[in-house]
């Protein structure tokens, strides 16, 4: 190498300059231009109220794969801008009239009658009538088309049109969760049945302008929207930006106004950025959990399951796996639920000595070896399992982790091909019955965790749930659910760890944007202050 010696310092200097030039920029502070190509703007005047107009650009992460509102996967939190249901979950956790101006339940609890508003139009210009609601119920009950919504209508037998604006939905038994189902019964026109997956049509505040798969979705204000004055925005653009780091940089650069899926590791950093507001959906519906298959040794032993509960250090999991940003839980209900069993708080605490003693009592004084199925090849399910794995090692339990990509994970879960699993579970329902009637972790039917009719405590557990499901007395139901949760804890197959919440970040000029209690991105009242 014949490089002259005097050149070396110059090369080092050039490299240093290059690195410095490429160093990450500090987050823009007040006064610094937030958007690409925009000059620094003066502080906007204090907003006086909602201002109409403007375009909101969001990124939810991945692209849409289907807009069918009965499908609950990729971007399922973006149904409400396009579709609406007869009723909706109100901000106080109850139900409020929406497409239906009122509803009533029959005395026997087997029929819910909806009175639809008149003059509501679909995006294709046709008026919504009772026929559309009847057809929507038929579609949910159709095995080919009900997809994920059918689970909320298991006791529904059909719907009957009473007049053009009145519909009765019939049930085979009293179902307290029926209103939860109706609040997700997004109505689409029958003529859009075959095309809704790619050309969504609903009655919502925004209608489709174009969807370029992989590139963007553009919605425009629906001029005939039934709610006077709403929406304020002229246009909403959703860009798929799958990489979370890139999504954040796009927010900082101003090419998007909001993003969903803030990595917990970056939440604290984003909160420091002056013109960015970070928020999260309320806890209480879905939770991270370790769940055991009670047919698999040694988890067929209740004492072992209890020992596994005592070995969970939620604080450590929060610090190491969730960067201190998660809301941890030991119970499957949030304190905001009327079914929250407050006296069961602290049923299990982190106590390795007790865990070891229980293992010894169960006949495993030296621990055992097991494998944990992990939802996804990487991410929070693996991270929290790694922390748990370390603590289990201290009581002699050697747990091998099996990170599994989603397409292989679900068949294994459904087929009960595991001993213990790191999973996300729970069911977003206003009524607490969702936990025991829908959530995979806790329901006594179609249970992947080995709970069958032959399980000794099954009859008692099932009876409590059935009775709570059909009772119309809230106090009685609360007591019944309390006892069911107690069985769940005593038997210990499900270990709730932390609430799963949507974390999102918005530019501060975006006003009124939030996720509602169903986790839906709610755009009706959103406006831009600049």
């Amino acid at each position: 190498m014949a490089v002259k010696k005097w050149l070396y310092p110059l090369i080092v200097l050039a490299l240093a300059l290059a690195v410095a030039a490429c160093a990450p920029a500090a987050p823009p502070s007040a006064g610094e231009a937030p958007s690409t190509g925009q000059a620094a703007a003066p502080e906007p005047a204090a907003p006086t109220g909602p201002q109409p107009g403007g375009t909101l650009t969001l990124s939810l992460g991945n692209d849409f794969v289907t807009f069918d509102p009965y499908f609950d996967e990729e971007n399922a939190n973006f149904k409400a801008p396009i579709f609406e249901a007869p009723i909706r979950i109100s901000d106080d956790g109850g139900f409020e009239p929406w497409l239906a101006e009122s509803w009533e339940m029959s005395d026997d609890g087997l029929t819910i009658t909806l009175h639809l508003r008149q003059g509501i139009k679909f995006h294709n210009g046709r008026e919504l009538t009772a026929d559309d609601v009847v057809w929507a119920v038929e579609r949910v009950l159709d095995k080919d088309k009900g997809y994920h919504l059918s689970d909320r209508f298991t006791t529904a037998t059909g719907a009957t049109k009473i007049d053009d604006y009145t519909v009765a939905i019939n049930y085979s038994k009293v179902a307290n969760s029926a209103l939860d189902g109706i609040a997700r019964l997004y109505i689409l026109p029958k003529e859009a049945d075959e095309t809704v997956a790619t050309q969504p049509i609903g009655t919502g505040p925004f209608m489709l302008e174009e969807w370029v798969p992989g590139d963007h979705l553009t919605l425009v204000k629906f001029p005939d929207y039934w709610r006077e004055g709403e929406p304020y925005l002229d246009k909403v653009i959703v860009k798929p930006i799958p990489d979370p780091q890139s999504r954040m940089v796009n927010l900082l650069a101003g090419s998007i106004d909001g993003l969903w899926g803030v990595p917990l590791a970056d939440k604290a950093m984003l909160e420091q950025v002056e013109d960015v507001v970070v928020d999260e959906s309320p806890p209480g519906f879905s939770f991270y959990a370790f769940i055991m298959n009670i047919q698999e040794k040694p988890f067929d032993n209740q004492l072992v399951r209890q020992a596994m509960n005592y070995a969970v250090d939620r604080d450590k999991i929060n610090q190491l796996a969730f960067h201190g940003q998660a809301n941890m839980t030991m119970l499957p209900y949030a304190p905001t639920s009327w079914a929250y069993p407050a006296d069961l708080e602290g049923f299990y605490t982190f106590d390795l000595d007790k865990a070891k003693a229980l293992l010894a009592e169960a006949g495993y004084p030296d621990g055992f070896q097991t494998q944990m199925l992990i939802r996804g090849a990487a991410g929070p399910y693996l991270d929290m399992a790694q922390v748990y794995q370390q603590d289990l090692a201290q009581i002699g339990v050697e747990m091998e982790l099996l990170p599994t990509e989603i397409p292989q994970y679900f068949p294994k879960l459904i087929g009960s091909e595991f001993a213990i699993v790191s999973h996300g579970t729970g069911e977003a329902t206003v009524d607490p019955s969702g936990l025991f009637e829908g959530a995979a972790c806790c329901r006594p039917f179609r249970n992947f965790f080995g709970i069958t009719e032959d399980t000794t405590w099954f009859p008692e557990y099932k009876a409590l749930i059935d009775k709570a499901s059909t009772s119309l007395d809230q106090e009685e139901r609360k007591a019944l659910y309390h006892d069911a949760v107690k069985i769940l804890l005593e038997q210990g197959w499900t270990i709730p760890v932390a609430w799963r919440q949507q974390v999102y970040a918005l530019k501060s000029h975006v006003q009124g944007l939030r996720t509602d209690l169903d986790g839906q991105i709610w755009l009706n009242g959103v406006w831009l202050s600049q």
């Binding site: 050149l7 794969v65 689970d151 798969p213 930006i241 650069a253 068949p411």
Partner: protein, 314 residues
């Protein structure tokens, strides 16, 4: 050469057929059932059975293949399991973005690699050679996603020159479109440039020692003519081979770069198809990738003759 090209094109048909059989079988061997994935964990057995029937997965594999082939011959590659969108349209929507990115990245790679590779070969051990080696080492070492984020931080956030993501419609916003292409193309182009520059350097060093180069110089030919006509031309064959393979790679989609820059290319579509076990989409997608490789290989083979007239096509 025309006859040769036609024959090669004709040979593609049986190759594609064999590939389609292999791909069909392999896709169905991958663990993961589309009906279970799409129906979700709460589906009943009846729902699963209905979806399996709807997707045609309840029929024997050979029958599924024959149906697929029959449709494919009429230009219908099937519909996505999830949204029922025709898969050839889904791929056709993504190919222009991938093609554009691949060509731009290749162009950037060539304009960086050629001067760098040639100068490094002509002056081995010099500062240019050292810088070229350093550039190559850094490019190999720096992961694409990191370079991509760095570029966004610098050009979008700090300088605010380039949009951090997306691909605006060329007809509506031609300038923004080109600006959006720069960073993804640069990310891919730099990595490719490093490879090309190294290959070119070593191939040229090899040729520079040859007798015919000495002869060319001895007969008084200008150095520029020696380098361009005798050295570079002879050194290009291995470089073109590498360029062909790499361009084929780029045409099959650049998953990471597409994800970071939200570039709507084929790579992300492939990930989506695998993730959902969307067999029809995956099958069509893999066939597109195979076809892209075949066409690039043919073009590479034809290019050899252009640079080296000794190569004859029969």
């Amino acid at each position: 050469m025309g006859k040769y090209a036609l024959r090669r094109l004709a040979q593609m048909a049986p190759a594609l057929f064999l590939v389609s059989v292999a791909v069909f079988m392999i896709i169905h061997l991958i663990p993961g059932d589309p009906a279970k994935i799409i129906a979700g964990p709460n589906a009943t057995d009846e729902q699963l059975a209905a979806l399996t029937r709807q997707f045609g997965l309840d029929r024997p594999l050979w029958e599924q293949y024959v149906t697929w082939l029959g449709n494919a011959l009429t230009g219908n590659l099937g519909h996505s399991f999830i949204n029922n969108y025709p898969v050839n349209q889904m791929i056709a929507l993504r190919v222009p973005a991938t093609l554009e990115l691949a060509l731009a990245a290749t162009f950037i790679a060539v304009i960086i690699a050629f001067p760098l590779g040639i100068l490094a070969a002509l002056r081995p051990g010099s500062l240019v050679d050292l810088l070229s080696t350093l550039f190559a080492a850094l490019s190999f070492a720096v992961p694409g996603f990191w370079l991509a984020i760095l570029l966004i931080l610098f050009f979008s956030l700090r300088l605010q020159w380039l949009p951090p993501s997306g691909r605006p419609d060329f007809a509506d916003q031609p300038v923004e479109h080109v600006k959006a292409l720069i960073m993804p193309a640069l990310t891919l182009g730099i990595a490719l440039a490093a490879k090309l520059a190294r290959y070119l350097r070593s191939a040229m060093l090899d040729v520079l020692d040859r007798d015919y180069v000495r002869t060319a110089r001895a007969k008084g030919l200008q150095e520029r003519a020696v380098i361009v006509r005798h050295v570079l031309r002879n050194a290009l064959i291995p470089v073109i081979t590498v360029l062909g393979l790499q361009t084929g790679d780029l045409l099959s989609g650049a998953i990471i770069v597409e994800s970071v820059f939200a570039w709507p290319g084929v790579g992300r579509l492939t990930v989506q198809a695998i993730g959902w076990r969307d067999y029809a989409l995956l099958q069509a997608d893999v066939l597109y990738i195979v076809l892209a490789f075949m066409v690039i290989n043919l073009l590479t083979d034809l290019t050899y003759g252009f640079f080296d007239p000794r190569i004859r096509y029969q």
